[in-house]
Amino acid sequence: MSGLRLSPGAAVTLTAILALVVFSLAAGLDPVLLTVSIMVAAMPLMLAALGEMVVEKSGVLNLGVEGMMIIGAIAGFAIAVESGSALLALVAAALAGAALALVFGVLTQVLLANQVATGLALTLFGLGLAALIGQPYSGIKPPPFPRLDIPLLSDLPVVGPLLLSHDLLLYFSFALLAAIWVFLYRSRGGLVLRAVGESHDAAHALGYRVIPIRLAAIAFGGACAGLGGAALSLIRVPQWTESMTAGAGWIALAIVVFGGWRPVRVALGAYLFGGVTILQLNLQAAGLTPLWLLVLALLLFAVHSTARALAGAGAHIRALFPLWLATAGAAAAAVYSPIAIQAQYLSMAPYICTIVVLVVMSADRLRASLNAPAALGRVFHRPA
């Protein structure tokens, strides 16, 4: 009978999708379009977070994701405008991100600099350099990005827009997810990478070249962040403005923690944050009270706890009654006394959500320390 029982993760995902459909119908929006916009919002985060996850798996903490993303954003944008070729633009974005990441790599791996400080320098430098390069490009529209277009199939209702007519980069992001999963867990190279991240001294003693392996991982992470930035400037927005990443790189770092350094969960995390971003924008536009965000958070939490209780783990089912009561209470408050609130408070949602997620994921110290690569952020000084 276990086939009927939902796992907590699946229950939460289903509830979130259901809530999305109900919300969009209530607000008079097309649920399909809303989902598509969430996918587009999640794509940059997913690309950057997956890349950073690989870097961290190798035991390196690169805090410069924001800087690499914005460099990718302007490099991709500039090349797209100059050449008109989307493919060329993406290659440029990936190369720019990787080049910047290698600066970090040389400093931290060869010159043994502090990773936190170097990552911050990378962010500052990237933001500045992007502003400098991007000066002539503000206010220009980039060429449209190629979309999947299968005759007939892409025009199908619901399935067409949801699955078969996205920007090509979106399919690439899922291919990347699969490739990273296969590499990490089904290949010798992935095993070596993870070994380096768990204990660089042991890996070194076995004869693996820790520094080149880490440099390769850092460059790969930079390329992914660069692609994420290009996804932002060429597809999501699409326009160039100074500091347009607005913390997306930092959120990507938090998503890696959220995903527990596992590819599929990291991708789910990116979609969660994409969802929060789009939802708060739509709440702003629809003039609805932000209490609904609280209702949603409580609802998801309650569903998660209940699914765990039903599966026999966690609290007893009766202990969850107050949680459901609070959810219903918040919903009632949202319906009957909508608080008018300034738009700025709603815009805080993604950032506050990041903090909440970090707290929830880190609170269980044992699990957090089991998930994180053991050598994360530690300096490897090669013994002579």
């Binding site: 600099a113 936190v116 990378l122 500045g128 502003a131 408070y345 805080m348 990041t354 002579a384």
Partner: protein, 355 residues
């Protein structure tokens, strides 16, 4: 091949020489970058690093910009020594300006010498309280303080924007998103007539001396050093990590908040959304450039203030965007960290050894 060999002790002159070397490297790399972008490199360097020293108005402005940088960096230095990374000083700066400024606005028009100290207290308390959020989440839930404090920067920016277009908006301001101008009793006195040099600069100087004493003559400074260089030894030696986390974050938050209030009640004179200009982030570089040493930080804050003023002039004369000074600042931090390897390791030439 070249190999790095750990040093047992670092000669004193090397500590002082590396920041200078880093600045020289930054100028070279920056000049190359500007040349690559088709701007005259010599002129760019001159405008950013030299011209502000010649112009008398710029010289006083140097102090105005150096004071907040120094105050924030002094607080950060303790945490950085202890391995507690407060990256959100910018947010604490903003919240300090809000809480301190709100006190000034609440007593709008009330004269009195007590008002400014009260505002300063409120500003420092606001900044410290904002920094307590990552501290408590770190202590209680083990949440990464880097990410939490950084996320709170964005929240603080939005909060400032919401407040000055909401409750703190100037009632006679035609709906512009800005507060009233602070009245005389709520504005920092100027000690250098004809300039914007306010008493906050003198306070920053005093704080530098106090921090130097704290670091070298007080057990707190010793504990911070110990926790950063040998966490396990520190734990056995009775350093309470949780307390250190709270104190380091609270101290840096309080100083950042005070700096924020001084900025609002000093050169800016009101609360506006454009109040934060990145001092909280630049202060991180100031802390490293000053080698996490209070007196070094005071010097370093002057150097970084130079790039701020030079950057402003460069916007007009060379048509360089404001964010371009971050290129210099980022490069400077890169150069510092790269050169720093010399203080911790000795370069040795080895023949035929390959690991």
């Amino acid at each position: 091949m070249l190999a790095l060999e750990p040093r047992l002790s670092t000669p004193g002159w090397l500590h002082a020489a590396t920041p200078v070397l880093a600045i020289a490297l930054t100028m070279l790399a920056g000049g190359a970058l500007f040349a690559a972008l088709g701007k005259n490199p010599v002129e760019a360097i001159r405008v950013i690093f030299w011209d502000p020293l010649i112009d008398p108005f710029s010289r006083s402005e140097l102090l105005v910009k150096a004071a907040p940088l120094a105050m924030i960096a002094l607080g950060l230095a303790f945490g950085f020594r202890a391995g507690i990374w407060n990256i959100g000083a910018e947010g604490q700066f903003i919240v300090g300006a809000i809480t301190g400024g709100a006190v000034g606005l609440a007593f709008y028009g009330t004269p009195g010498l007590w008002l400014l100290p009260l505002m300063a207290l409120a500003g420092a308390a606001g900044g410290a309280a904002w920094a307590m959020i990552p501290a408590i989440l770190k202590i209680r839930f083990n949440a990464n303080e880097i990410l939490v404090s950084l996320m709170l920067v964005y929240v603080a920016e939005l909060l400032l924007s919401a407040l000055v277009s909401g409750p703190l908006r100037d009632p006679d301001g035609f709906n512009f998103p800005e507060s009233r101008q602070f009245h005389d009793s709520a504005t920092l006195p100027i000690f250098w007539p004809g300039t914007r040099a306010h008493v906050g600069i003198l306070i920053a100087l005093g704080l530098g001396v106090a921090a130097a004493v704290m670091l070298h003559r007080h057990v707190f400074g010793y504990h911070a050093n110990l926790l950063g260089s040998a966490p396990r030894a520190a734990a056995f030696g009775g350093v309470r990590v949780h307390v250190m986390t709270a104190v380091c974050l609270g101290l840096s938050g309080g100083l950042a908040g005070l700096a924020g209030l001084f900025e609002a009640a000093g050169p800016v004179g009101q609360l506006v959304p454009s109040l934060p200009v990145g001092y909280g982030f630049t202060a991180i570089i100031v802390a490293f450039l000053g080698r996490l040493e209070p007196l070094g930080i005071l010097l370093a804050s002057l150097v970084m203030a130079l790039t701020y003023i030079g950057g402003e002039t460069a916007q007009f004369t060379l048509q360089i965007p404001a964010a371009a000074i971050w290129v210099f600042q980022g490069m400077l931090l890169f150069a510092l960290l790269a050169v720093d390897v010399l203080t911790r390791y000795r370069l040795r030439w080895r023949r035929g050894v390959r690991a």
